[in-house]
């Protein structure tokens, strides 16, 4: 979708957005649980950032290219990536697009124009800039998006990418999923200014938006998308939310923070969405219950199915280092297998 929703389809669009948020939330909780049960190895939950991610996704076309980060399950779901694809990655099974090579949460979904997630944070940003340069050169009217966290604004790659995007006036959107924390460091200790203000240092438009509100995020992103498509250059969006969960399943936030946002509280983006959609008359309690129920069933069912997929066969680990195996890898494969 590239233009603001009109009245006829607004209901569908918003309900679909809400459904994606719920599905993502359900998925998150399932995976965190599964990790505790030893059924998967690791996970970085999206909980609390669903509205940011869905709001972003709503503003994008299929052809737009996304350099996402490790916490973007709601974004992937809303964009149509099947739950199975996400599960396969998390399980690192034989059907995983990256062939079980990456740690959980490091997704790739080429068909949906999701690039491949790396761990070193923000190093996707210069790639997004290069991709935008190439796409403009090829006269495509696509937008490139990079997502990242608040902590990532301190990195070298953030600076490089922001400056290059501005200097070359490229169609890129830098969407900062500002969840208030970088593992144990609160954003106030990461930087002394609002992240949206950093845009000015590059001559770029900066927007601060309530990332708990999917409609607001959608609107802000639309503005950025329009700027990008009309050749007016890049935008930095600072979408403020809260990391409701742990940094990852390896993390214990009680060690470093007392502040929490409870599920269902008024700061929960899903609660915010429910209130908005109820007051617009698009949702009611029974519909909500139904959506949640279906999500739960779907996630549980798919988890059980995907869990049965075996690990990739060992020989696959020697593929794709190069287009063709060199003699070194062939020899090592022979030795190991």
């Amino acid at each position: 979708m590239t233009e603001m929703v009109n009245e006829q389809n607004e209901k569908d669009v918003f309900v679909r957005a809400y459904t994606a948020m719920v599905l993502s939330r359900t998925f998150d909780k399932k995976i965190v649980m599964a990790q505790r049960q030893g059924r998967i190895g690791f996970y970085t939950p999206s909980i609390g950032q669903e509205a940011t991610q869905v709001g972003l996704s709503m503003a994008l076309d299929h052809d737009d290219v996304i350099f996402q980060y490790y916490r973007d399950v709601a974004l992937m779901i809303h964009r149509g990536v099947p739950i199975e694809v996400i599960l396969d990655q998390i399980m690192g099974n034989a059907e995983d697009e990256s062939k079980g090579r990456q740690m959980p949460s490091h997704y790739t979904a080429k068909k949906y124009n999701f690039m491949s997630v790396q761990s070193p944070v923000a190093t996707n940003l210069p790639l997004a800039v290069g991709a935008a340069y190439a796409l403009r050169y090829q006269k495509k009217n696509t937008v490139v998006v990079a997502t990242f966290g608040d902590g990532s604004t301190s990195t070298p790659d953030f600076h490089a990418a922001m400056n290059l995007a501005a200097v070359f006036n490229l169609p890129v959107i830098f969407l900062c999923e500002n969840n208030g924390w970088a593992i144990s460091l609160p954003t106030e200790k990461q930087t002394k200014v609002e992240i949206s203000e950093k845009a000015a240092a590059y001559g770029m438009k900066g927007i601060k938006v309530d990332g708990n509100n999917f409609i607001e995020t959608y609107k802000a992103t639309m503005e950025a998308v329009e700027r990008a498509r009309s050749g007016k250059g890049p935008t930095l969006i600072d979408a403020i939310s809260f990391r409701m969960g742990a940094h990852s399943t390896s993390d214990d936030p009680s060690k470093y923070r007392s502040q929490t946002v409870e599920e269902g509280s008024e700061k929960d983006p899903i609660t915010v969405a429910e209130e908005q959609l109820k007051s617009l008359g698009y949702l009611n309690d029974s519909l909500i219950a139904k959506i949640k129920e279906e999500s739960t069933k779907m996630v549980n069912d798919k988890f059980d199915i995907q869990e049965k997929i075996p690990a990739p066969v060992p020989s696959t680990m020697f593929d794709d280092v190069y287009a063709e195996k060199n003699w070194i890898i062939k020899e090592e494969e022979d030795d190991i297998l």
Partner: protein, 322 residues
């Protein structure tokens, strides 16, 4: 004497060093309140304050660069890089500042700093939480590179590193962080930089290894009743050439084991040192059992890490070679 795992040994040693020397400052991501993602710095910020145990913003090159600047002013900086995989964002600071400061200033400016970082596989970390980049550092003149394989050496090497007048890369094999508890003396002691350990003595062959592969090698030797000289290098730059050469001369058969990729891994240098100095003593090729030359895979990590089977295959080849 206390019984400790490696994390505990490192933690108590850092505590001890900080309590005895005000000029020591730790810095890194999540090392303060959180105590480090592996808990190596647990409790130290509470004890020594936020000024001496600094939770930094997310910027490795800043962590290393600040440490260099601190050290220039007489502070002993002990930066932590959360995972060695991310150290490359600070690589220029390491190669072009840390390693070259003394040289380029004609000896006027020195950097007695210790850069700690967990490395290696074995914790299901995939491509970006499993790397063994030691060779990048060991190829870099101006650095000292050490890696302990047990809690005892961890303490002794850390004390030596902090006392070293040269900048040290202190590589912590994260797979061993909690792998074993052993007795660690309460008092200070040093494991000398540049000196390998010989945890087993034998005459039939030499197995040279370090870091996380040491227990794997020792178990293999025991289980298979090998009469092997096992060297645990402990220092990767400068390596203990005397220990390597004298053992190679004694046994005439050498197997090198490490987890990092083979090509230009430490094994290459060890092999080259031996064939430069002791080739006439050898009865067999010098073999390397290493991680393959591929990025580190997540789900199949057990195939990546050298284990008993691969070590024994190499051992048999060198023993049976004629």
């Amino acid at each position: 004497m206390s019984t400790m795992n490696m994390v505990q040994a490192l933690n108590s040693t850092l505590d001890h060093i900080m309590s005895g020397d005000n000029s020591v400052i730790l810095l890194g991501e999540d090392i303060g309140k959180d105590g480090g993602v592996f808990r190596v710095t647990e409790g130290l910020q509470a004890k020594y304050g936020e000024e001496r145990v600094i939770d930094t913003p997310l910027v490795e090159l800043g962590i290393v660069g600040m440490s260099v600047g601190m050290s220039l002013m007489g502070v002993k900086a002990i930066p932590e890089i959360q995972f060695q995989d991310f150290i490359y964002t600070a690589f220029d600071q390491i190669i072009n500042q840390m390693a070259k400061m003394r040289y380029r200033s004609g000896g006027g400016f020195t950097l007695p700093m210790v850069l700690r970082t967990p490395y290696g596989g074995g914790i299901k970390g995939g491509l970006y939480h499993s790397q063994s980049g030691e060779a990048y550092f060991a190829h870099t003149a101006g650095l000292v590179v050490v890696t302990p394989s047990n809690p005892y050496d961890a303490k002794g090497l850390l004390i030596s590193s902090v006392e070293s007048p040269d900048p040290v890369i202190f590589l912590e094999p994260k797979r061993l962080y909690r792998a074993a508890k052993i007795e660690v003396p309460d008092e200070d002691y040093r494991v000398k930089i540049g000196e390998a350990a010989r945890p087993m003595e034998g005459d039939d062959l030499t197995i040279i290894t370090y870091g996380a592969m040491v227990p794997t090698v020792l178990n293999t030797v025991k289980k298979n009743n090998l009469n092997a000289d096992v060297l645990d290098l402990r220092t990767l730059l400068p390596m203990d050439v005397n220990a390597i050469i004298s053992s190679a001369k004694k046994t005439g058969r050498v197997v090198i084991v490490h987890e990092a990729p083979r090509t230009l891994g430490m094994g290459a240098e060890i092999s080259a040192l031996i064939s430069e100095r002791a080739i006439e003593y050898l009865y067999a090729p010098i073999l390397r059992v290493t991680g393959p030359d591929i990025p580190f895979p997540y789900r199949l990590e057990d195939y990546y890490m050298p284990g008993e089977a691969r070590i024994m295959k190499a051992v048999k080849r060198v023993m049976e070679f004629r």
